[in-house]
């Protein structure tokens, strides 16, 4: 598949994520949207790494490692994202315990 498809899909996912973060008030949905943006980035990384690998093969570079570093990177990101999700969800749980709501507009106590 041409790389443009991947880029379009990743951009669409990212924009959905941004719009979701901007518009939704439910903390869990916002959280999901952040994950969506994260994964749009991951998707692009994987897509570009495959593209570089393909180009290297077609250039008759036997036993090439081109593009593999990006895929490794994606694993790191997924690990970090998992850790982030656990922290984030814990925060949301604590928030629900305190204000009985997961509406992020309640979290404006720092304002005054």
């Amino acid at each position: 598949m041409p790389i443009e498809y991947y880029i379009a899909l990743a951009s669409a996912l990212f924009c959905i994520g941004v719009v979701g973060v901007l518009t939704r008030r439910n903390a869990i949905v916002v959280f999901m949207c952040i994950e969506l943006m994260l994964n749009a980035a991951n998707l692009l990384l994987v897509a570009f790494s495959k593209m570089h690998y393909g180009i290297a093969i077609s250039n008759k570079e036997a036993a090439t490692a081109a593009g593999t570093d990006a895929q490794l990177f994606v694993f790191f990101i997924m690990v970090v994202a998992a850790a982030e999700v656990s922290v984030g969800l814990a925060i949301i749980v604590m928030m629900y315990r305190n204000v009985h709501s997961v509406d992020i507009n309640f979290l404006n106590r720092l304002k005054n």
């Binding site: 973060v21 901007l22 008030r25 992020i104 404006n108 720092l110 304002k111 005054n112």
Partner: protein
């Protein structure tokens, strides 16, 4: 040995001692120091006078270089020639009598104020001596400013009265206007000749263009109008009567106001080269003499009458200067110093006797109560009115002769002014000393002759007023023309044409007849005191209000300045400068208040800002070459 610098030194020492130790010294010690320093100066002056009379002018004595700058040099130099020693005699002599008089007149003042008063008086004499003894225009200017300052200090001596302070400020400011003219004239001279020494300036006067000469002399004359109370700067002098009476006698009659006359007499070589300036001087003197003489007719304050008569007499002196009879003008300065000091001091004695009353319509009948004051006052009045063979008669007659030879119209107007003098002086004399007493019974009970410290100076001045004129008795009476001869090395002697002698007799006759007629006329009218206390109407009202000159000056100078100041205060200061300062402050406060709202605490808002900012940054980053080119094009 040249002792000339000692003459101003002693009053300066007196000023320092009485001024600095006014709280420590007793009144009698202050009196002794204050009068003693002037007496020492007077004795030195007399010694020098006879020395100069024998041997001619002393050489210029430079104490130290005052302004040395490369090849341009102004020395702190004194010069005692015939003219300056004559003025020094008047200043120290009359000044000494007035100091003695002051010891009695100011006796009720507190000791510290008494010391302050005498230190001012001494400083004044010092400044005046600097003025007449300086050997260049710059030293003269130091004295010139000094007398202006002392005038301010002494008019405002009773500084708790706001009206007096106002009069003091008025005198100072009006003098400053004249001083500016004097200063500009000095700069003009320095730029053209590179020197301000009298000797050098007069030696090179002919090398100046007529434009320069006229400009310089007119600017000098502007200075003279300020100091000598001529139109247009005369209004400060009548107001200056706010000061103690001896001050009026010393400053505003005998010495300070003659500074302008001295300056013109000193610069006679310059004035003789500029007919325009001479005509201006004559015209201003003439108009002043007439105007002030007319105003004096309707004044009821004894000191105000004398003040206007001073302005009028100064006008006579300027007429003499203008028609080129410099010696005659100086002669009138001399006689005027005698009889005007006498009149002021006698008026002070009257005020003293009347417990501070100055309104002559509330006096009357004082002839019997204070006879010595009356007789001396009468001598003064006769002298100033030009009664035959008094000093005022001889000097004024010479002015009339000089005016006659110059221009008939000037002569007739001057004669008229002389007649006015007789009228207003006799009016005052009759209102004050004749008729019945019109004051309160308390004042009548308190009436007393003044102590001897007041009476003795009066008698000395009365003798001088009566006979002082004989030093310059005209040829027609067998006089020896002493002053003319004495001053001739400095001031060109007044020479008369062949018909002069006969002309003089004629003048004398006319002046006397008119004078006597007027005296009779005035006697009859002035007895009726109600004549002068009525509310005036028509032209009399205009005169009684001093031709509304003060109001005119208020309208064309003071009010616009006030309005300008108000405008600057309201618009430039409040709206402009304050507006900018406050505007910056309130702009920052306002914008901070608005920007504060951005920090809403809503996470969604922060995210929106973040996203928008990222988009903007990316846009800028991608288009940076376009933007840089655009900016380069602008700047």
């Amino acid at each position: 040995m040249n002792l000339v610098y000692l003459i101003p030194l002693f009053p300066f020492i007196g000023f320092l001692v009485t001024g600095l130790f006014r709280k420590q010294l007793s009144k009698s010690l202050i009196s002794i120091i204050g009068c003693g320093t002037i007496l020492v100066s007077f004795i030195i002056t007399v010694v020098l006078f006879f020395q100069i009379k024998e041997n001619g002018a002393l050489p210029v004595h430079a104490l130290f270089p005052f302004i040395p700058a490369n090849d341009f040099k102004i020395d702190f130099a004194f010069q005692a020639d015939q003219l300056s020693i004559l003025f020094s005699l008047i200043i120290t002599g009359v000044g000494f009598l007035i100091h003695v008089y002051s010891t009695a007149y100011m006796h009720e003042e507190a000791t510290a104020h008494y010391g302050r008063y005498f230190s001012y008086l001494n400083l004044f004499v010092f400044s005046m001596l600097m003025l007449v003894l300086g050997a260049n225009y710059v030293i003269m200017f130091i004295g010139w400013e000094g007398v202006g300052l002392c005038s301010y200090l002494l008019i405002g001596y009773w500084f708790k009265n706001d009206n007096y302070n106002y009069a003091a400020k008025k005198a100072f400011i009006m003098n400053r206007i004249g001083d500016l003219g004097f200063l500009l004239a000095i700069f003009w001279l320095l730029s053209k000749l590179g020197t301000a020494n009298f000797a050098d300036v007069f030696a090179h006067a002919k090398s100046l263009t007529s434009f320069d000469i006229t400009g310089i002399t007119l600017l000098l004359f502007l200075g003279a109008t300020g100091k000598s109370a001529q139109i247009p700067l005369y209004t400060w002098l009548p107001d200056a009567m706010a000061g103690p009476t001896p001050v009026s006698a010393l400053i505003h009659a005998a010495t300070m106001v003659t500074a302008g006359v001295y300056m013109i007499a000193r610069s006679n070589i310059l004035y003789s080269l500029s007919p325009i300036a001479q005509n201006v001087v004559t015209a201003v003197g003439l108009i002043t003499a007439l105007l002030a003489g007319t105003i004096a007719l309707y004044q009821n304050d004894i000191k105000k009458v004398l003040a206007y008569s001073t302005v009028s007499q100064l006008g006579f002196m300027f007429i003499a200067m203008g028609v080129g009879a410099y010696t005659t003008g100086v002669f009138h300065v001399l006689t005027h110093a005698f009889f005007k000091a006498l009149l002021f001091l006698a008026a002070g004695s009257v005020i003293h006797a009347m417990s501070g009353e100055q309104n002559i319509t509330k006096m009357g009948g004082l002839r019997k109560k204070i006879p010595t004051t009356y007789i001396t006052f009468l001598v003064g009045v006769l002298a100033i009115s030009g009664f035959p063979f008094t000093s005022g008669f001889i000097s004024k007659d010479e002015i009339l002769v000089a005016a006659y030879e110059h221009n008939k119209i000037v002569f007739f107007l001057t004669s008229f002014a002389a007649v006015l003098t007789a009228v207003y002086m006799f009016r005052m004399l009759f209102l004050t000393f004749f008729g019945s007493f019109r004051g309160t019974s308390e004042q009548e009970h308190h009436l007393h002759e003044s102590p001897s410290a007041i009476i003795v100076p009066l008698i000395i001045l009365a003798i001088l007023s009566a006979f002082g004129g004989f030093i310059q008795l005209p040829d027609a009476f067998g006089g020896d023309d002493f002053l003319n001869q004495f001053l001739s090395p400095v001031v060109p002697a007044v020479t008369h044409e062949d018909s002069g002698a006969a002309m003089k007799e004629y003048n004398i006759l006319v002046a006397t007849v008119i004078g006597l007629a007027i005296i009779y006329f005035a006697t009859k009218k002035a007895f009726a005191v109600s004549q002068w206390t009525d509310v005036y109407s028509g032209f009399k009202k205009v005169i009684a209000n001093k031709f509304y000159v003060d109001e005119l000056y208020d309208m064309i100078v003071v009010k616009p300045l006030h309005n300008l100041a108000g405008f600057l205060k309201r618009v430039i200061e409040r709206s402009g400068i304050d507006g900018i300062v406050n505007g910056v402050g309130s702009f920052i406060q306002y914008s901070a208040r608005q920007l504060r709202l951005l920090q809403s605490g809503q996470i969604a808002n922060y995210v929106v800002f973040m996203v928008v900012s990222i988009v903007v940054l990316f846009t800028v980053f991608w288009n940076q070459t376009v933007i840089i080119n655009f900016l380069q094009k602008i700047f």
